[in-house]
Subunit: 528 residues, 2 copies
């Protein structure tokens, strides 16, 4: 430990020699709703504590983003959520689970198709919202006159990207996934041979068939970008931006991408100087539990406790799966804390406590916690890594399959299919996680690596947000490749030149050879 | 400034929560000689101050690396320098300057060819040195028994790479250039369309002809790697490593690459999670000058001082250029401090002080310094950036042209050709640098960006060296792409499968069409 101190003191001198900071800046935030908001709110709280003046653009009918907050001022507008059925995600879950009936390798495409249809609908709503704002000169003048110093947005919420570009604000993204079909051009070259496309449920080491599958996913997501995501915005961008502007070219204007992952969790992949990895930035040491919950934890004795939560949106899976899980829990010597929003399962054991909401961070950090049964959302995965709790994954939607795969290949998780779950399978997997020491050892190793950083992920995020404010952008970190047409980016024009030169050389050689042969023959004939 | 403090205090908590450090580790260092040693020594001094036990493998006849040092123990071996003519670099300089007679775009290839011949010779000597060590079981057993925790080496010194791999030590590289012909596979994908190949004297924004030139440089350096650099090691690697091992595959074993550049200076390019950018790590605030030199600086009055140095290896250029420079200096109202190793120039003015060696860092940080006339070595360029002194470049060899170009395109330097230099040209360029405010403004902007980092480059370097020691490597940061054969890396096998499927589909369609047509005709004939 002593060795850290000189490095730290040197850091002290360096920090105080750095350019002065930028407290009191005016930050416009366009967050995405749902679990993404949980992440954004953590950052906003930190920015607020550092004296920044924050304005959040939110939907009038937002699911999670409060209108009144002590850390920001709200601007209420009409957005996506207003047109969505509140039970939308539970319905989507039913459809997604049907997909899992297929052979897994085809199931990923079926799920991707489901998400595509959701995306298409979502982007149409978002494009209409954006058009309504940009077409409203009074509203836009008001935003413009506020003279914000920064746009902080989640690019899943394209509205923020469009507004930030229109207002010509320095822009920081708070983002989870980066390798869509155009990842190659928006982020960094992403060879399909070892960069798994999101949704593919593949890892970085792939055999021939897996690489083929990854290529199909890449082509699919490329087409999705071209034919599903881009078109709804075409008219809006044509009216308000220079010719040739599309959604991707606006994303390229981002100065810094704060990516909510790190390379302890994510597979190593090419990246760019303006990508900053902040995975686990929301993790903190646990706080004491409420008295009753603490008593329940302590009552578990040496066996400890299993914590189960399936995330923000989806509070219950189907009855059959629920009963199987409850029955399996009932046979454990451990106690169980289960975040559960439905009716009480018939097979519920005495050892299981159902809760509408649970203090997940504090439970995972509790010394009695032995395993985490989770859907595989990014936040939960990082909390499991931070607190070194092995995971039994029950993925349902979106990136949850990919997230759990990342822990599984590192020996820190097992995954069961929610659709076809039986009491026996679930119990066997759970006992394996609880009784095989390697799961705990492996997640402890990941936890150690995750915490071994020069600077905490939250401080890193705040540093780069303030860096962009201080320096009015970070254009010097943006790739020059983004300005090239695709044929120049891939050097196809140079290849054509080289091909033409080689062709001319061969053609000239043949012509010269023929001429020489011809002369030779003529001489021979003359000589004869 | 106050805003930095909470971030800093949060960092304090985080640092103390991190895994314990690893003072007292045993580090084997194989440095490269010359200016590269200056860099390595700075890091070793820092590692020594943190309690590490350092052993340096050096040539018995090393140019710069002392045998006796208070910060490390030496192991003396026979190496490259023993077989090189001490005046080698001055001769190389003469040849290199001849190259500059060509039209610049061709001159870069001529210079590259010169360096290739130097490389070929150097690698043959290095391969012989490595073979002598690996074939000596007593020497290797002694190294093995020392149970080092880390190999720290400059991969320009392939000996370190080979020894580190052979001894299976965790390995950290301290490296300047990364985009050789195989940069694509060793580091990160490096699109030729916007990643200039070293030695090409190109920037990241290229027109068609420049991209063509860059592609030629890329192909040249690819061939250089295959036909000049790899062959001398083939026999050695075949005898001591698994089949198929080549120099590049050994380099891929590095856990962390400490790259001596940053993206304030370097053009943004794809990078990998195990590349850490430490450009300017050797820069420090300046110390007071010796009394006489300080008096000379103060005697310059409001005009200030010009500092000139052409680096470590080459202390003098040809007489004609020297006289032109001396005569130009004599016409300046400024004073001049010139690091100069030859005979006193005839045209030397009273305002010019010649010195065999000068405290460059302290001079550049002196408030009287107005401009830096430099050859463009990386160390000097970072010191100019750190102290915000505009540069007049006089590049001579190696990467100096590329380095100066990086400052020039940012408006912080001008470049003159050493070969064809005249008093008038040099004076005009020097007056421009001294009198046009934009050069100073631009280098001040670069300096501000360079210093605006979450952690100083030296602390970053030390953190990652100790990270590799603590975690016994950093395999989780290494790309899976490196394990693929080239045709799989580029997905050519998948492309062949897709091509074949498309071909089969077209063929089957034609066959079905023909069969249908045939039947149709038969029916028609029957009907008739």
């Amino acid at each position: 430990m002593s060795g850290v101190i000189p490095l730290f003191l040197a850091g002290l001198c360096f920090l105080f020699l750095r350019p002065t900071c930028c407290t009191g800046s005016r930050i416009l935030v366009v967050p995405a709703d749902g679990s993404h908001w949980i992440n954004m709110e953590e950052i906003l709280r930190e920015l607020h504590s550092r004296g920044h003046d924050i304005t959040v653009l939110r939907s009038t009918k937002s699911w999670y983003i409060p209108n009144n907050s002590s850390i920001y001022t709200s601007i209420n507008v009409t957005m996506q959520e207003d047109e969505l059925d509140p039970d939308f995600f539970n319905k989507l879950l039913q459809d997604a689970m049907e997909c899992r009936d297929f052979q897994p390798s085809i199931g990923t495409f079926c799920q991707e198709h489901l998400i595509t249809s959701l995306l298409g609908n979502g982007h149409e709503i978002l494009a209409r919202s954006a058009a309504a704002m940009l077409d409203d000169p009074v509203f836009m003048k008001k935003l413009h006159d506020e003279k914000y110093d920064l746009m902080l947005t989640d690019p899943a919420m394209t509205l923020g990207v469009i507004l930030g570009s229109y207002l010509k604000l320095p822009m920081v993204f708070n983002v989870r996934w980066i390798n869509n079909g155009e990842g190659h051009l928006t982020i960094a070259p992403s060879p399909v041979s070892y960069v798994p496309v999101s949704g593919s449920e593949l890892r970085d080491r792939m055999d021939f068939l897996e690489r083929t599958k990854n290529m199909l996913h890449y082509l699919y997501s490329f087409c999705e970008q071209q034919f599903i995501i881009n078109p709804p915005y075409a008219d809006l961008l044509q009216r308000h931006f220079p010719p040739g502007t599309d959604l991707l070219s606006l994303e390229l204007a981002a100065d810094i991408w704060l990516v909510r992952t790190d390379f302890v969790f994510e597979f190593p992949r090419p990246t760019m100087p303006n990508l900053v990895y902040i995975g686990g930035f929301q993790c903190k040491p646990s706080n004491p539990l409420p008295v009753e919950l603490e008593a329940f934890m302590q009552s578990s004795g040496e066996h400890g406790v299993v914590v189960m939560s399936l995330g923000t949106f989806v509070s219950a899976i189907n009855d059959q799966a629920t009963e199987a899980i409850a029955a399996a829990f009932a046979e454990l010597p451990q106690k169980v804390v289960w975040r559960f929003g439905g009716g009480k399962p018939l097979c519920l054991g005495n050892n299981t406590l159902l809760m509408d909401w649970l203090p997940q961070r504090d439970l995972l950090g509790h010394p009695k916690t032995r395993a985490f049964v989770a859907h595989g959302g990014t936040n939960g995965m990082y909390e499991a890594i931070y607190h070194a709790v092995p995971v039994l994954g029950l993925p349902l939607l979106f990136d949850q399959f990919d997230n759990l795969l990342r822990l599984k290949v590192r020996g820190a998780a097992r995954v069961v299919e929610a659709k076809s779950i039986t009491k026996e399978d679930f119990l066997e997997a759970l006992r394996d996680i609880l009784e095989t020491p390697s799961y705990r050892h492996n997640i402890q190793h990941l936890s150690q690596l995750h915490r071994d950083r020069p600077m905490s992920p939250m401080d890193t995020a705040i540093f780069w947000i303030e860096y962009v404010i201080r320096n009015k952008g970070a254009a010097h970190l943006q790739s020059a490749g983004f300005n090239l047409p695709w044929y120049s980016y891939f050097c196809l024009d140079v290849a054509v030149l080289f091909g033409a030169l080689i062709w001319v050389f061969i053609w000239a050689s043949v012509v010269v050879y023929k001429i020489l042969c011809c002369r030779g023959r003529r001489r021979k004939i003359k000589a004869e």
